[in-house]
């Protein structure tokens, strides 16, 4: 008797029957087609109840998942890829227009699945060749991303913007991996002075009572450091870092606006806070060069980001009987203490290590109250008090807090000092 033939891989674990794969996949395609059908009905019959849109979304998504699951059972079958491509294509048509981002995603999935079908149908050699080309293209994109930060080569700009940007953005692969470079740099905080109008009347003025409150971010307290690994804290740190993107050295440009900016700054010091040094003066050796004192944020920060932050905070801090009236925002760089100061007993959390830049007063709907406010985008310094703390001062305040003076409300530095 002949010996039994040796077991093959398929004997150990038989692959799923192609028929099962097709049946599952085509069920998914049917679901996506049903989503399309509802869409067609809506196109002809007019708006349907919200349930119809929800059903379209559910059918498209579950159809795609089912077709994807079918593919996962036998990824070597080009037909399974083709079914997935068809499902994705139909799904993109079946989704309501309000789900435009996923219409785009489904189209991309259809193209990718279509390419997969082509690859699966090709002979092995050709398949590996095309995959090799894809690998080269992919890492070409990664290389482009790593060379993109300024000053980027002309070639990177051209190839990146024209070719790779959609792919890298879609896949979230645009990072350049320039961690802590070229310089580590100080972190940024955001201090916000929120002014509220209460429902009660101030007896002195006869008008609604106004109260103010400082908010600051990030903080290592229970409110902002909520998970064991500090992710909630670092997310807030990212929010504040995003606001710190500035256009450098603008104040040294010679144009009408920058001349007016300097004049307004000088006028503020003369009239409203004579104790604050002029931009060109040194005070206790703790004032930056003038080009570092004026830091206008990048346009997307002051046009979109700060107003969005304001709207969020206004919504988050309104309460019954309390209406947000305005917010003053300060972007605060927390400079890293120098070793020689640290060795001599200096604290990394002393208020003079914080450098607030005034970013404007906003209404609750995110509108900048005065784009020509005198201290807008200027450093509002916290400087060492000449002669140190006053004798007999129980709090031993050895600094001049011009930020609180500018804001009109005292900031309690102990809230952010450990």
């Amino acid at each position: 008797m002949d010996p039994a033939p040796p077991l093959t891989d398929d004997d150990i674990l038989p692959p799923v029957e192609p028929r099962t794969v097709y049946r599952l996949g085509l069920t998914g395609t049917g679901m996506a087609a049903a989503a399309c059908g509802i869409g067609l009905v809506e196109a002809f019959a007019g708006d349907l109840p919200w349930v119809a849109a929800t059903l379209r979304v559910a059918l498209a998504f579950f159809g795609l998942i089912l077709a994807g699951y079918a593919l996962s059972l036998r990824a070597g079958l080009w037909q399974a890829w083709a079914i997935l491509a068809a499902t994705a294509g139909l799904g993109s048509l079946g989704l309501p227009n309000t789900w435009d981002s996923f219409q785009m995603f489904f189209r991309v999935a259809a193209v990718v699945a279509g390419c997969g079908a082509g690859l699966a149908a090709l002979p092995l050699t050709l398949r590996l060749s095309l995959i090799s080309v894809a690998v080269l293209v992919h890492f070409g994109g990664i290389l482009t991303a790593t060379t993109w930060p300024d000053p980027a080569p002309w070639l990177t700009n051209q190839v990146g913007q024209r070719v790779y940007m959609p792919y890298l953005t879609f896949m979230y692969l645009r990072n350049a991996y320039h961690f802590y470079s070229p310089e580590p740099g100080p972190a940024s905080h955001v201090f916000v002075l929120v002014k509220y109008e209460l429902d009660e009347t101030d007896p002195k003025t006869g008008k609604p009572k106004l109260v103010s409150e400082w908010l600051s971010m990030p903080r290592r307290d229970a409110e902002q450091f909520r998970d064991p690994l500090g992710l909630t804290y670092y997310r807030r740190l990212s929010l504040t870092e995003m606001v710190s993107q500035i256009i450098p050295a603008l104040v040294t440009n010679q144009n009408i606006e920058t001349e007016e900016v300097k004049e307004r700054r000088v006028a503020y010091s003369v009239i409203k806070d004579p104790l604050m040094p002029q931009p060109y003066q040194a005070a206790q050796g703790n004032v930056d060069p003038i080009n570092l004192q004026y830091r206008i944020p990048q346009p997307h920060v002051y046009k979109y980001l700060l107003p969005s932050y304001v709207r969020h905070l206004a919504g988050a801090h309104e309460a019954p009987g309390r209406k947000v009236v305005s917010m003053k925002i300060y972007r605060v760089e927390h400079r890293i203490i120098q070793p020689q100061v640290f060795v001599n007993g200096g604290s990394p959390f002393h208020p003079t290590t914080y450098k607030p830049y005034y970013c404007g007063e906003y209404t609750p709907d995110g509108k900048l109250v005065d784009p020509q406010e005198q201290m807008l985008y200027w450093l509002v310094p916290i400087l060492p008090k000449p002669g140190g703390a006053a004798p007999g001062d129980p709090d031993k305040i050895d600094y001049d807090d011009h930020m609180s003076r500018h804001a009109g409300f005292k900031f309690n530095w102990k809230d952010i000092t450990p």
């Binding site: 994807g68 991309v108 913007q161 979230y172 991996y177 070229p182 580590p184 972190a187 290592r220 988050a316």
Partner: protein, 629 residues
């Protein structure tokens, strides 16, 4: 005996390439990466629960309106690739630009919106002087023409009668005039060169009419007029040309088109038609879902999917769904992201590409069960091929390919991180080390013990200088050296350096999750057998047991197959018998006792054996490992 070394074999480049990328790889490493990364990803998304609506709701830090507007409208500018005149060296952006300062932008937009674009003749006349200045600047390359021309307009009086006199004097040939505030305003050179020998001077009359028409469309408010003119003055030749072109094109549009164009310009300060593309290819359910209940349910479903991915259930599907979900969170709010999200995404992409569920997963457990069931049903025992399958997950091309992609990508990351630091003075003079020790927002400096430690360390400057130089040097060697050395026999050492680097980042910078993810990527260089040895250790050959079962009874076959699936240390021997028995140390057990005996014997289960005391759990185990009647 030969004393010469054999000549090194030289592989063809193509074979080298194919062997590098497409050689079958052990999926155990990938499975381990999936397991740890999956739970990290789950943690990251669980942490979102604290700030869910603050980050992803309609009124989040980055509002939904802003996010939607950005992904639908954001222009992609692109520098010139080629032009006939300069061969691609003209870097003037093609788009017109408006002032960035809000008050100047408001003034300029008011000017643009106030132009008489519906009256073609008036519109053309009002722009003639502007075009004249633009042409003079462009033709001569001398910006003074712009300064003079616009300066002259700025100096004209706002009172129509006074202005008419000033213009009339210009026609007559005056080269300057004095304003009411005593400022001297000179007539521009391009006008003084026009003939002035006749009282009417037709050319000068024409220009005067152009100037008057231009002045009339400027804002009446002095400051607003100043801002509009300043923007023209501050534009160089190229920008002025684009600005004038843009303004002229407004006359070709319908009022609706003009409104749309100017609204777009107001928001983006970029001409839509000059953008290479408009919008961004980002996707997220949070762009489309705002109802809090729906959001909560969807987030819950996402967490379940991520858990399934972490444990390796339906991994091919859950890996794709996890990546889609994770990127959806990322795309919705890019302002809360940092390096951790980048690394998480990279890992998820490659775990999705490779069959990361082929090892250390529920899928693998199910596959082991199915293979065991088939083998036991076929031969009444575990044959050699099935034993080999159960022992080690089969090598697969997709696992090898995904790991290589990860390995190469990691090299890019380290190389970019290391080389970019060379641009920084603080890295060259080693002060960067200090920044990473005492940055108050990142480090442990808010703990008094750590603060004392650092203070003592830095007090001794020579010691501190040596430590910081070593720290910086170590960073450079690790980051720049790894992409080269990791492909040599020094791989274990550079991996250890990498682990040390990221352990330092975790401890001193508080970036635990980022560091864990980087360590996961480093583990991608570890061979599968090494991972298996570390997890499963040496085989406990001294504690075997036997399972007898009847091949004719499907329930017994299934129960035996479950034992085979769970027998990770290959302790069980299977044999055909009349009844289902588990024989341990010569003693046969039947029914639920058989299940407990098998569970009690399995070496991997010894740390969790105490769980059998939990009411109900032992019944579950009995139900799994013994046939049910």
């Amino acid at each position: 005996m030969s004393t010469t070394l054999p000549a090194p074999t030289k592989k063809p480049l193509l074979k080298t390439w194919l062997d590098f990328w497409f050689a079958p790889g052990d999926p155990t490493t990938l499975g381990f990466l999936r397991l740890v990364t999956g739970f990290i990803v789950l943690y990251v998304h669980l942490a979102y629960c604290f700030d869910f609506h603050s980050f992803f709701g309609p009124h989040a830090w980055w509002g939904l309106n802003e996010a939607n507007r950005e992904r639908r409208e954001a222009p992609t500018p692109v520098p010139t690739f080629w032009d006939d005149k300069f061969g691609g060296w003209d870097e003037t952006p093609k788009s017109a630009f408006l002032p960035e300062y809000p008050h100047r932008l408001a003034a300029f937009l008011k000017f643009l919106r106030g132009l008489p674009a519906d009256d073609k003749a008036q519109f053309a006349q009002s722009l003639k002087f502007l075009t004249r200045i633009k042409d003079a600047v462009e033709n001569t390359g001398n910006p003074m023409y712009g300064l003079e021309g616009f300066g002259y307009v700025a100096g004209l009086s706002g009172d129509p009668n006074t202005r008419a006199k000033e213009l009339q004097n210009m026609v007559k040939g005056d080269t300057k005039f004095v304003t009411s505030t005593g400022q001297i305003v000179r007539v521009p050179t391009m006008l003084t060169s026009l003939p002035s020998d006749s009282p009417t001077n037709p050319d000068r009359l024409e220009v005067a009419a152009e100037i008057e028409a231009f002045f009339r469309v400027l804002p009446t408010d002095i400051d607003e007029r100043k801002y509009v003119i300043a923007h023209f003055v501050e534009a160089d030749a190229g920008r002025l040309k684009n600005l004038v072109r843009f303004i002229k094109e407004l006359g070709d549009l319908s009022p609706e088109q003009r409104k749309e164009l100017l609204d777009y310009m107001e928001y983006w300060n970029f001409e839509k038609k000059q953008a290479l593309r408009v919008g961004q290819p980002t996707f997220s359910v949070w762009f489309h879902m705002t109802d809090p209940t729906c959001m909560a349910v969807t987030h819950g479903v996402v967490l379940v999917v991520m858990f399934c991915f972490a444990i390796g259930f339906c991994t091919r599907v859950t890996s794709a769904l996890t990546w889609i979900a994770a990127v959806g969170y990322i795309h919705r709010n890019q302002y809360v992201l940092f390096g951790m999200d980048t690394m998480m995404n990279i890992l998820l992409i490659y775990l999705m590409i490779g069959n990361s569920g082929a090892a250390l997963s529920v899928d693998r457990l199910i596959a082991r069960y199915r293979a065991g069931k088939l083998g036991l049903g076929r031969s009444g025992t575990i044959d050699d091929r099935t034993r080999a399958y159960l022992e080690t997950p089969p090598a697969s091309v997709s696992a090898g390919f995904a790991l290589k992609l990860l390995n190469v990508h990691f090299c890019f990351i380290y190389m970019a991180a290391g080389l970019s630091k060379l641009k920084g003075n603080s890295w060259w003079n080693t002060t960067a080390y200090w920044d990473t020790l005492v940055n108050p927002e990142f480090t442990l400096i808010h703990y008094s013990l750590y603060e004392s430690f650092v203070r003592n360390m830095v007090w001794n400057r020579p010691f501190y200088a040596l430590a910081s130089a070593m720290g910086v040097g170590f960073t450079f060697v690790a980051e720049i050296g790894l992409p080269f050395l990791v492909w040599t026999r020094l791989r274990p050492f550079v991996m250890i350096m990498g682990f040390m680097l990221h352990a330092g980042v975790a401890i001193f910078m508080g970036l635990w999750i980022f560091s864990l993810l980087m360590m996961m990527m480093l583990l991608g260089y570890m061979p599968g057998w090494c991972v298996r040895e570390r997890i499963f250790g040496a085989k406990p050959a001294a504690t075997p047991f036997t399972v007898t079962f009847s091949k004719a009874d499907p329930a017994q076959v299934r129960a035996a197959a479950r034992i085979a699936a769970l027998d990770f240390d290959a302790q069980a021997t299977f044999a055909e018998g009349a009844e289902y028995r588990v024989v341990v140390d010569g003693k046969p057990f039947a029914g639920p006792d058989a299940a407990k005996a098998a569970a009690g014997r399995m070496a991997w289960a010894s740390p969790v054996r105490v769980a059998l005391l939990v009411p109900g759990l032992s019944g579950v185990v009995a139900g799994l490992l013994a046939p049910q009647k």
